[in-house]
Amino acid sequence: MMWKDKYKIGVEAIDQQHEELFRRVSNFNQTIRNEVNWEAKLDKVKETMLFMKDYVIVHFNDEEAYQEQIGYPQIEEHKDAHAKFKQGIDNYVKIFEEEGFTEEKIQEFGGKLMAWLIMHVGNMDQKIGEYVKSKGGQA
Protein backbone atom coordinates (compact mmCIF):
# COMPACT_ATOMS: atom_id res chain seq x y z
CA MET A 1 0.00 0.00 0.00
CA MET A 2 1.02 3.57 -0.59
CA TRP A 3 -0.31 5.01 2.67
CA LYS A 4 2.11 5.70 5.53
CA ASP A 5 1.15 7.03 8.96
CA LYS A 6 3.61 9.89 8.55
CA TYR A 7 1.18 11.40 6.00
CA LYS A 8 -1.42 12.01 8.73
CA ILE A 9 -2.03 15.67 9.51
CA GLY A 10 -3.90 15.07 12.77
CA VAL A 11 -7.31 16.24 11.61
CA GLU A 12 -9.40 13.10 11.59
CA ALA A 13 -11.92 13.94 8.87
CA ILE A 14 -9.15 14.95 6.44
CA ASP A 15 -6.92 12.01 7.36
CA GLN A 16 -9.76 9.60 6.64
CA GLN A 17 -10.30 11.09 3.19
CA HIS A 18 -6.56 11.00 2.50
CA GLU A 19 -6.38 7.33 3.47
CA GLU A 20 -9.33 6.60 1.19
CA LEU A 21 -7.70 8.51 -1.66
CA PHE A 22 -4.42 6.66 -1.20
CA ARG A 23 -6.28 3.34 -1.06
CA ARG A 24 -8.10 4.13 -4.31
CA VAL A 25 -4.94 5.25 -6.10
CA SER A 26 -3.09 2.20 -4.80
CA ASN A 27 -5.85 -0.13 -6.04
CA PHE A 28 -5.92 1.69 -9.36
CA ASN A 29 -2.17 1.22 -9.75
CA GLN A 30 -2.41 -2.46 -8.87
CA THR A 31 -5.16 -2.90 -11.46
CA ILE A 32 -3.28 -1.17 -14.27
CA ARG A 33 -0.10 -3.09 -13.51
CA ASN A 34 -1.45 -6.60 -13.00
CA GLU A 35 -0.93 -9.25 -15.64
CA VAL A 36 -4.56 -9.42 -16.74
CA ASN A 37 -5.12 -8.69 -20.42
CA TRP A 38 -5.58 -4.95 -20.96
CA GLU A 39 -8.90 -5.22 -22.83
CA ALA A 40 -10.32 -7.42 -20.08
CA LYS A 41 -9.71 -4.86 -17.36
CA LEU A 42 -10.41 -1.73 -19.38
CA ASP A 43 -13.92 -1.21 -17.97
CA LYS A 44 -12.60 -1.35 -14.43
CA VAL A 45 -9.79 1.07 -15.33
CA LYS A 46 -12.28 3.56 -16.83
CA GLU A 47 -14.67 3.27 -13.91
CA THR A 48 -11.92 3.76 -11.30
CA MET A 49 -10.44 6.64 -13.24
CA LEU A 50 -13.76 8.50 -13.31
CA PHE A 51 -14.44 7.76 -9.66
CA MET A 52 -11.06 9.10 -8.65
CA LYS A 53 -11.44 12.24 -10.69
CA ASP A 54 -14.71 12.97 -8.82
CA TYR A 55 -13.35 11.93 -5.44
CA VAL A 56 -10.34 14.23 -5.77
CA ILE A 57 -12.72 17.16 -6.38
CA VAL A 58 -14.94 16.21 -3.40
CA HIS A 59 -11.90 15.90 -1.16
CA PHE A 60 -10.34 19.18 -2.31
CA ASN A 61 -13.66 21.01 -1.78
CA ASP A 62 -14.02 19.56 1.72
CA GLU A 63 -10.44 20.43 2.56
CA GLU A 64 -10.84 24.00 1.32
CA ALA A 65 -14.08 24.38 3.34
CA TYR A 66 -12.18 23.21 6.43
CA GLN A 67 -9.38 25.70 5.73
CA GLU A 68 -11.93 28.51 5.51
CA GLN A 69 -13.54 27.38 8.75
CA ILE A 70 -10.26 27.55 10.67
CA GLY A 71 -9.08 30.76 8.95
CA TYR A 72 -6.05 29.04 7.43
CA PRO A 73 -3.73 31.83 6.25
CA GLN A 74 -2.26 29.92 3.29
CA ILE A 75 -5.62 29.00 1.81
CA GLU A 76 -5.10 30.82 -1.50
CA GLU A 77 -1.75 29.13 -2.12
CA HIS A 78 -3.37 25.81 -1.24
CA LYS A 79 -6.30 26.43 -3.59
CA ASP A 80 -3.79 27.13 -6.39
CA ALA A 81 -2.08 23.80 -5.69
CA HIS A 82 -5.46 22.02 -5.80
CA ALA A 83 -6.30 23.76 -9.08
CA LYS A 84 -2.98 22.61 -10.58
CA PHE A 85 -3.56 19.06 -9.35
CA LYS A 86 -7.04 19.00 -10.92
CA GLN A 87 -5.61 20.49 -14.11
CA GLY A 88 -3.07 17.66 -14.22
CA ILE A 89 -5.86 15.08 -14.00
CA ASP A 90 -8.03 16.94 -16.54
CA ASN A 91 -5.13 16.98 -19.02
CA TYR A 92 -5.03 13.19 -18.91
CA VAL A 93 -8.83 12.88 -19.09
CA LYS A 94 -8.59 14.93 -22.30
CA ILE A 95 -5.84 12.67 -23.65
CA PHE A 96 -7.97 9.59 -22.87
CA GLU A 97 -10.98 11.15 -24.59
CA GLU A 98 -8.95 11.98 -27.67
CA GLU A 99 -6.63 8.98 -27.90
CA GLY A 100 -8.58 6.33 -26.01
CA PHE A 101 -7.57 4.59 -22.78
CA THR A 102 -4.28 3.20 -23.99
CA GLU A 103 -2.21 1.10 -21.62
CA GLU A 104 0.82 3.32 -22.20
CA LYS A 105 -0.95 6.55 -21.25
CA ILE A 106 -2.83 5.06 -18.30
CA GLN A 107 0.43 3.71 -16.84
CA GLU A 108 2.05 7.09 -17.37
CA PHE A 109 -0.89 8.74 -15.60
CA GLY A 110 -0.77 6.24 -12.70
CA GLY A 111 2.93 6.94 -12.07
CA LYS A 112 2.41 10.69 -12.03
CA LEU A 113 -0.76 10.62 -9.93
CA MET A 114 1.07 8.62 -7.27
CA ALA A 115 3.93 11.14 -7.06
CA TRP A 116 1.54 14.14 -7.06
CA LEU A 117 -0.58 12.67 -4.29
CA ILE A 118 2.29 11.76 -1.98
CA MET A 119 3.93 15.13 -2.53
CA HIS A 120 0.74 17.09 -1.92
CA VAL A 121 -0.42 15.21 1.17
CA GLY A 122 3.08 14.61 2.53
CA ASN A 123 4.16 18.21 2.16
CA MET A 124 1.52 20.86 1.54
CA ASP A 125 -1.26 19.32 3.63
CA GLN A 126 1.08 18.85 6.59
CA LYS A 127 1.15 22.62 6.95
CA ILE A 128 -2.59 22.60 7.75
CA GLY A 129 -1.90 20.24 10.66
CA GLU A 130 0.99 22.42 11.85
CA TYR A 131 -1.27 25.48 11.77
CA VAL A 132 -4.02 23.75 13.77
CA LYS A 133 -1.42 22.63 16.30
CA SER A 134 0.03 26.15 16.56
CA LYS A 135 -3.45 27.41 17.43
CA GLY A 136 -3.75 24.92 20.24
CA GLY A 137 -5.92 22.49 18.27
CA GLN A 138 -5.73 18.76 18.39
CA ALA A 139 -3.53 18.21 15.36
Binding site: M1, M2, S26, N29, Q30, I32, R33, E103, E104, Q107, E108, F109, G110, G111, K112, M114, A115, W116, I118, M119, G122, N123
Partner: protein, 154 residues
Protein backbone atom coordinates in the same frame (compact mmCIF):
# COMPACT_ATOMS: atom_id res chain seq x y z
CA UNK B 1 28.50 28.36 -12.64
CA UNK B 2 27.42 29.65 -9.30
CA UNK B 3 27.21 27.75 -6.06
CA UNK B 4 23.53 28.74 -5.63
CA UNK B 5 22.61 26.57 -8.62
CA UNK B 6 24.16 23.43 -7.16
CA UNK B 7 22.93 24.10 -3.63
CA UNK B 8 19.37 24.72 -4.81
CA UNK B 9 19.25 21.44 -6.70
CA UNK B 10 20.91 19.55 -3.88
CA UNK B 11 18.52 20.90 -1.25
CA UNK B 12 15.47 20.26 -3.44
CA UNK B 13 16.66 16.70 -4.15
CA UNK B 14 17.27 16.02 -0.49
CA UNK B 15 13.88 17.37 0.62
CA UNK B 16 11.86 15.64 -2.09
CA UNK B 17 13.56 12.24 -1.77
CA UNK B 18 13.21 12.35 1.99
CA UNK B 19 9.51 12.96 1.64
CA UNK B 20 8.72 10.65 -1.26
CA UNK B 21 11.03 7.73 -0.63
CA UNK B 22 12.31 8.14 2.93
CA UNK B 23 15.96 8.38 1.96
CA UNK B 24 18.51 11.08 2.65
CA UNK B 25 21.05 11.53 -0.12
CA UNK B 26 24.60 12.47 0.85
CA UNK B 27 26.56 14.60 -1.57
CA UNK B 28 29.85 13.38 -2.97
CA UNK B 29 32.63 15.36 -4.55
CA UNK B 30 31.46 17.60 -7.34
CA UNK B 31 33.13 17.20 -10.74
CA UNK B 32 33.45 19.41 -13.78
CA UNK B 33 32.39 17.56 -16.93
CA UNK B 34 32.43 18.41 -20.62
CA UNK B 35 29.12 16.86 -21.57
CA UNK B 36 25.82 15.64 -20.19
CA UNK B 37 26.34 11.98 -21.03
CA UNK B 38 25.56 9.20 -18.56
CA UNK B 39 25.93 5.45 -18.54
CA UNK B 40 23.33 4.95 -15.83
CA UNK B 41 20.11 3.10 -16.72
CA UNK B 42 17.42 5.74 -16.27
CA UNK B 43 17.98 9.37 -17.13
CA UNK B 44 15.58 12.26 -16.74
CA UNK B 45 16.30 15.48 -18.59
CA UNK B 46 14.81 18.80 -17.53
CA UNK B 47 15.22 21.81 -19.84
CA UNK B 48 15.44 25.11 -17.97
CA UNK B 49 14.41 28.41 -19.53
CA UNK B 50 14.22 31.96 -18.23
CA UNK B 51 16.93 33.90 -16.37
CA UNK B 52 18.93 30.67 -16.41
CA UNK B 53 19.06 28.49 -19.48
CA UNK B 54 20.29 24.94 -19.82
CA UNK B 55 19.69 21.36 -18.84
CA UNK B 56 19.54 19.33 -15.66
CA UNK B 57 20.08 15.59 -15.96
CA UNK B 58 19.16 13.11 -13.24
CA UNK B 59 20.81 9.70 -13.74
CA UNK B 60 19.70 6.67 -11.74
CA UNK B 61 20.79 3.02 -11.80
CA UNK B 62 18.05 0.49 -12.57
CA UNK B 63 17.89 -1.09 -9.10
CA UNK B 64 17.64 2.25 -7.38
CA UNK B 65 14.85 3.34 -9.74
CA UNK B 66 12.88 0.16 -9.02
CA UNK B 67 13.44 0.49 -5.29
CA UNK B 68 12.27 4.13 -5.27
CA UNK B 69 9.07 3.28 -7.12
CA UNK B 70 8.54 0.29 -4.83
CA UNK B 71 8.84 2.49 -1.72
CA UNK B 72 6.35 5.00 -3.15
CA UNK B 73 3.81 2.53 -4.48
CA UNK B 74 4.15 -0.38 -2.09
CA UNK B 75 4.28 -2.64 -5.18
CA UNK B 76 7.03 -4.98 -6.31
CA UNK B 77 8.83 -3.68 -9.41
CA UNK B 78 10.94 -5.86 -11.67
CA UNK B 79 11.30 -3.64 -14.70
CA UNK B 80 11.27 0.04 -15.54
CA UNK B 81 7.92 0.08 -17.33
CA UNK B 82 5.81 3.10 -18.28
CA UNK B 83 4.46 3.34 -14.74
CA UNK B 84 7.92 3.35 -13.14
CA UNK B 85 9.52 5.70 -15.69
CA UNK B 86 6.61 8.12 -15.41
CA UNK B 87 6.87 8.12 -11.61
CA UNK B 88 10.63 8.70 -11.85
CA UNK B 89 10.13 11.55 -14.33
CA UNK B 90 7.62 13.15 -11.99
CA UNK B 91 9.98 12.86 -9.01
CA UNK B 92 12.63 14.71 -11.05
CA UNK B 93 10.03 17.24 -12.17
CA UNK B 94 9.01 17.95 -8.57
CA UNK B 95 12.68 18.31 -7.57
CA UNK B 96 13.21 20.70 -10.49
CA UNK B 97 10.16 22.77 -9.52
CA UNK B 98 11.32 23.02 -5.91
CA UNK B 99 14.86 23.94 -7.01
CA UNK B 100 13.47 26.77 -9.15
CA UNK B 101 11.52 28.05 -6.15
CA UNK B 102 14.79 28.12 -4.19
CA UNK B 103 16.56 29.85 -7.09
CA UNK B 104 13.81 32.48 -7.20
CA UNK B 105 14.95 33.49 -3.70
CA UNK B 106 18.25 34.45 -5.38
CA UNK B 107 16.26 36.48 -7.92
CA UNK B 108 16.43 33.99 -10.77
CA UNK B 109 13.06 33.48 -12.44
CA UNK B 110 13.00 30.28 -14.47
CA UNK B 111 10.68 27.63 -15.76
CA UNK B 112 11.16 23.97 -16.68
CA UNK B 113 9.86 22.03 -19.64
CA UNK B 114 8.13 18.66 -19.01
CA UNK B 115 10.68 15.95 -18.15
CA UNK B 116 12.08 13.73 -20.89
CA UNK B 117 12.93 10.22 -19.82
CA UNK B 118 15.66 8.13 -21.43
CA UNK B 119 16.12 4.49 -20.57
CA UNK B 120 19.54 3.06 -21.30
CA UNK B 121 22.70 5.00 -21.90
CA UNK B 122 22.11 8.71 -22.38
CA UNK B 123 24.22 10.32 -25.08
CA UNK B 124 24.09 14.05 -25.40
CA UNK B 125 26.11 16.51 -27.40
CA UNK B 126 28.95 18.19 -25.54
CA UNK B 127 27.78 21.29 -23.74
CA UNK B 128 28.44 24.11 -26.15
CA UNK B 129 28.62 26.94 -23.74
CA UNK B 130 30.82 26.47 -20.69
CA UNK B 131 31.09 23.34 -18.60
CA UNK B 132 28.66 21.24 -16.64
CA UNK B 133 28.86 20.18 -13.01
CA UNK B 134 28.22 16.61 -11.95
CA UNK B 135 27.03 16.11 -8.40
CA UNK B 136 27.22 12.47 -7.26
CA UNK B 137 24.82 11.50 -4.49
CA UNK B 138 24.82 8.37 -2.40
CA UNK B 139 21.87 6.81 -0.62
CA UNK B 140 21.24 3.50 1.16
CA UNK B 141 19.51 2.24 -2.01
CA UNK B 142 22.10 3.28 -4.56
CA UNK B 143 24.16 6.06 -6.06
CA UNK B 144 22.86 8.57 -8.57
CA UNK B 145 24.04 11.75 -10.26
CA UNK B 146 22.68 15.17 -11.03
CA UNK B 147 24.43 16.97 -13.88
CA UNK B 148 23.79 20.68 -13.98
CA UNK B 149 24.43 22.82 -17.01
CA UNK B 150 23.08 26.33 -16.58
CA UNK B 151 24.02 29.69 -17.99
CA UNK B 152 22.64 33.09 -17.28
CA UNK B 153 20.48 34.01 -20.28
CA UNK B 154 20.43 37.31 -22.06
Amino acid sequence: MKVEYVNSFYKATKDVLQLLVDIEPQRGEIKVVQDLGSNKDANVELAVVGDLKGTILFSFPKNMTLEMVKIMSGMEMDKIDNFASSALGEVANIIGGNALTLLSQHNYTCDIAPPRIFLGEYKALPVGNGKALLLPLSTPIGEFDITIHLNEGN
